[in-house]
């Protein structure tokens, strides 16, 4: 039996490829498997090619990973368009539509000869059993359920429910199509070792969602009652989720005329005392710069989610990249600091978003959440989250004596000054983007400016020792250290597993807090390290560079970085880890890693 199964399905827009994938992962989640599913489309809005990658496993799944265990091609032209996104190897089981007319030993896959190939009359089976081509996805679901032993019952239930409205005949047609898939699989059995083992957790149902919806739900949980934003791929679903849900909590979603107005309304709502949020992607972030600076200077809490896509400029809107970190940390003019957090998975974005609200309210600051297109749009199984574990922090209001001669920007020891809002008697003050004294009155005094800068920076000092915002995995004294963040951290985690399985002495640091740089955390981590690697999906290895600003890294710590949309695989990382071991053992400088 296998513990881990990667399935890729491709076809054209109308083929139901995505819906086949979704029924599989839903069934798997219900049965307690772990899974992630990513989708990919051609550039057409409708029509064009579509594909999904589905990874199901008995233990936590950290990333969509590389080569396919199973490839399903509804037609070869579309399948091949996805190139490196759906890599087929000799070990891959290939299932394809017989009507393509391709012979099993003549697959149009240059340089690969898969050992196991099934030519299946998928369309014909759909037509025969369900009376319509449209049931192709049902046939595929049946085939995969049959061969890999997953989701038979729940998928059948799903089919019954889905088609109920269309009447008994349609339901039965689809059930037959599903059964035809099962039967085909039974008639053409796979070796037993390709089947998926039972889930470890004993079949406990998991949640199933994607990063954008999870982020929006976390915002609601954290107490957000205002969202202002403007649609942009791949972040729009955050606004869409909130638009469906937030009103019931007395909240509001405003689709503004542009990103400036979106975050502007958020700044206003925060000034008015509400927990508020915006979400966008690169081009929108570039437009929000001025408002982020204003919120920093006026010390107003807000959360700004950037679902990173490929940049610069319009770049590659539907692909993931980790290249907006420099911007998140440094885009506004003047000296200012705003925290930047990043989630590593769909599950993780829940805690990260709640933390972002907590930091925003506590430190009275904008906080950036750097999600990315992969996390945002992949469906992932999530273990049930115990929400009682999470603390919710509210901004500190002035009270009692603080409200006589109220000084909004009081130079307190912590740098955190109690904040009032309109409606609060005695709390009246002037907020502004202009430098000010403790009362909020404009000043051009260099001395006051220096003191206020100090206040606005020093208040974040405690944040730099928030070790709970970092995960250290592997042997704590290992001589080889990796650092990775965001969706790529899942790949690094898998590489760590592989390395440990080989007995390599390796450890991994995964920050949720990217900025400010938590110097002590990195210093501790690198104390034992002789060779190290920052693993990032950006051309410039942006976290590596930012950490260097503040931490003296050991000489042999480098970056392994790739531009967005070029997969980083656990196996590639493992390769480099092995080289590092050799280099340490031989005392030789290793070949330079790919470092841009």
């Amino acid at each position: 039996m296998s513990e881990d199964l990667i399935i890729g399905i491709a076809g054209s827009g109308g083929d139901g490829v995505i819906s086949a994938g979704e029924s599989l992962i839903t069934a798997a989640a219900l049965e307690g498997y772990h899974g992630v599913m990513t989708k990919s489309f051609g550039s057409q809005i409708r029509g064009g090619e579509a594909s999904c990658r589905l990874r199901l496993a008995t233990r936590p799944v950290l990333n969509p990973n590389g080569p396919l265990d199973v490839a399903v091609a509804l037609n070869w032209e579309d399948f091949r368009r996805f190139g490196a996104e759906l890599p087929v190897e000799a070990a891959t089981i290939v299932i394809y539509e017989s009507a393509t007319g391709v012979a099993p030993d003549q697959l149009p896959l240059p340089g690969v000869k898969p050992a196991v190939v099934f030519s299946v009359p998928i369309t014909a089976m759909a037509a025969t059993h369900a009376g319509t081509d449209k049931a192709k996805n049902i046939v595929i679901a049946g085939l995969l359920a049959g061969w890999f032993g997953i989701g038979r019952e729940s998928m059948l239930a799903g089919i019954r429910k889905k088609f109920a409205k269309k009447g008994a005949a349609v339901v039965e047609g689809n059930v037959r199509a599903f059964q035809a898939g099962l039967d085909f699989a039974a008639a053409n059995p796979l070796k037993e070792d390709r089947k998926l083992s039972a889930p470890q957790s004993g079949g406990l149902t998991k949640l199933l969602t994607d990063g954008n919806d999870m982020c929006a739900a976390a915002a609601i949980f954290a107490g957000c009652t205002f969202f202002g934003g403007y649609p942009i791929t791949p972040s729009t679903e955050i606004m869409q989720f909130l638009d469906r849900e937030i009103w019931t909590y007395g909240g509001t979603v405003l689709q503004a005329e542009d990103e400036i107005a979106g975050i502007g309304a958020v700044v206003g709502a925060s000034f008015a005392g509400k927990k508020a949020m915006t979400a966008t992607s690169g081009p929108g972030m570039s437009l929000k710069t001025e408002m982020l600076g204003l919120a920093s200077l006026a010390e107003l809490p807000l959360v700004c989610v950037n679902v990173q896509r490929g940049g610069p400029s319009t770049g590659m809107p539907t692909k993931a990249e980790q290249s907006d970190l420099f911007q998140a940390a440094f885009s506004a003019h003047g000296d200012c600091l705003r925290p930047v957090l990043a989630p590593t998975s769909v599950a993780d974005i829940f805690g990260v978003t709640v933390e972002a609200f907590n930091l925003a309210e506590y430190y009275q600051t904008p906080v950036i959440v750097l999600s990315d297109q992969e996390i945002a749009q992949r469906k992932e199984t999530v273990d049930p989250i115990d929400t009682t574990k999470f603390q919710i922090i509210e901004r500190r209001h002035p009270s009692g004596p603080e409200l006589t001669n109220y000084a909004r920007f009081k130079l307190t020891e912590s740098g955190i000054s109690p904040i009032s809002h309109p409606g609060m008697l005695g709390g009246n003050y002037l907020a502004a983007g202009i430098e000010h004294n403790e009362q909020g009155r404009p000043t051009a005094s260099g001395e006051l400016h220096a003191r206020m800068n100090e206040k606005r920076f020093n208040k974040f000092n405690p944040l730099k020792s928030r070790r709970d915002l970092f995960a250290v995995e592997g042997h704590p004294e290992a001589p080889i250290g990796m650092v990775s963040w965001g969706s790529v951290a899942g790949v690094a985690r898998e590489a760590l597993r592989l390395a440990q399985a080989e007995g390599l002495q390796v450890k991994l640091l995964v920050p949720q807090l990217l900025y400010p740089v938590a110097e002590p955390v990195y210093q501790d981590f690198f104390a034992s390290v002789q060779r190290g690697l920052f693993i990032e999906q950006s051309y410039q290895a942006q976290l590596y560079r930012i950490v260097r600003m503040h931490v003296d890294l050991p000489a042999h710590v480098k970056a392994f970085a790739k531009s967005g949309s070029n997969p980083i695989l656990p196996s590639e990382i493992l390769e480099r880890l092995r080289e590092m071991v050799v280099a340490i053992q031989s005392g030789q400088p290793q070949s330079e890693p790919v470092e841009n």
């Binding site: 969602t209 739900a217 205002f226 502007g264 206003g268 049930p384 929400t387 709390g427 983007g433």
Partner: protein
């Protein structure tokens, strides 16, 4: 004379004097600047309204005119250039109980901020928007403004402006504003009155104030000229409910100085805030507790 309706949202009315709304921050405008009169008119209007300072949010952008909030005792927010409206909109939607005033300049409001006006109006956000229109960039020392007339020479139009000015009155009429008025500190009583009425008006209210810049303005833009030239719409017998006529009068912007209420929609549309509140009320009982929101992600067969 129009009768003033009771204030829209009588949260905590009390008796106030204009002085209760004046802060002790000394204005740093040039001596004689028209904006002195505007802040006085605003504080007078606020005294009549009777909402206490802490229930007022007074938002502005950047410019000489945008300094006004700091000279009042309200919660002030001197934001960034051109973005007072989006921010004020957020305040209004976050807490519809507040009285939200916005101050702006001709550059702040119609050049860099011009893109927001139409949207705030078509949403009918319940705020009062006061633009101090001096046909020049005052704070940055005398550059061309979007309301400067064609041909005007300034430090950025040494050989004369090559463009037609914007027409704030006509634009907001086109955007569907329900309350449109114009005033000048040359008629303080009238100015205070249209501001007060604007605040009481349920929904977005626009008030263009011809507020002279004594330092960079032209002679025909000073208080003296205003006094000589202004024509009160009331005295002209204009019916503010007459939209077509109001639009026609708006076209005279830049050539005639009409003061008073140009347009008051007799059947103002609902405000965005009302829509929001109704929706929140209607959906309230569908809420799952916040800590159970993740149940939305339970897969179902």
């Amino acid at each position: 004379m129009t009768t003033l309706e009771p204030p829209a949202k009588p949260i905590s009315l009390a008796k106030f004097q204009a002085g209760d709304f004046k802060s002790d921050l000394k204005p740093i405008w040039c001596p004689g600047c028209g904006d002195f009169g505007v802040v006085t008119a605003i504080t007078r209007a606020l005294a009549n309204i009777g909402r206490p300072p802490h229930e007022i949010a007074f938002v502005s952008g950047i410019g000489c005119s945008s300094r006004i909030p700091g000279y009042t005792t309200a919660y002030g927010f001197n934001t960034v250039h051109g973005r007072s409206l989006p921010i004020a909109q957020g305040i209004n939607l976050a807490n519809p109980e507040l009285l939200v005033l916005v101050a702006s300049g001709d550059g702040d409001g119609f050049s860099i901020g011009g893109g927001h006006v139409a949207h705030v109006i078509r949403r009918n956000i319940d705020i009062t928007y006061i633009v101090m229109d001096n046909q020049i960039y005052g704070l940055t020392k005398g550059q061309l403004s979007p309301t400067s007339q064609r041909g005007r020479k300034t430090v950025t139009s040494s050989f004369g402006s090559l463009e037609d000015p914007v027409n704030p009155l006509l634009y907001v009429m086109g955007y569907g504003a329900s309350y449109v008025a114009q005033g000048t500190p040359a008629d303080m009583a009238g100015l205070a009155r249209i501001i007060e009425e604007g605040i009481r008006f349920p929904g977005f209210a626009f008030i263009n104030v011809q507020s002279p810049c004594v330092t960079y303005g032209q002679e025909d833009q000073q208080l003296k000229a205003h006094k000589a030239n202004l024509q009160s719409l009331e005295s002209l017998g204009h019916d503010p409910a007459d939209r077509a006529k109001a639009t026609e009068l708006a076209r005279a912007y830049g050539t005639k100085l009409y003061t008073g209420v140009l347009y008051r929609n007799p059947n103002p549309p609902p405000t965005y805030g009302q829509g929001v509140t109704e929706r929140q009320e209607a959906l309230k009982n569908k809420a799952v507790p916040r800590h159970e929101i993740l149940n939305r992600f339970k897969p179902s067969k």
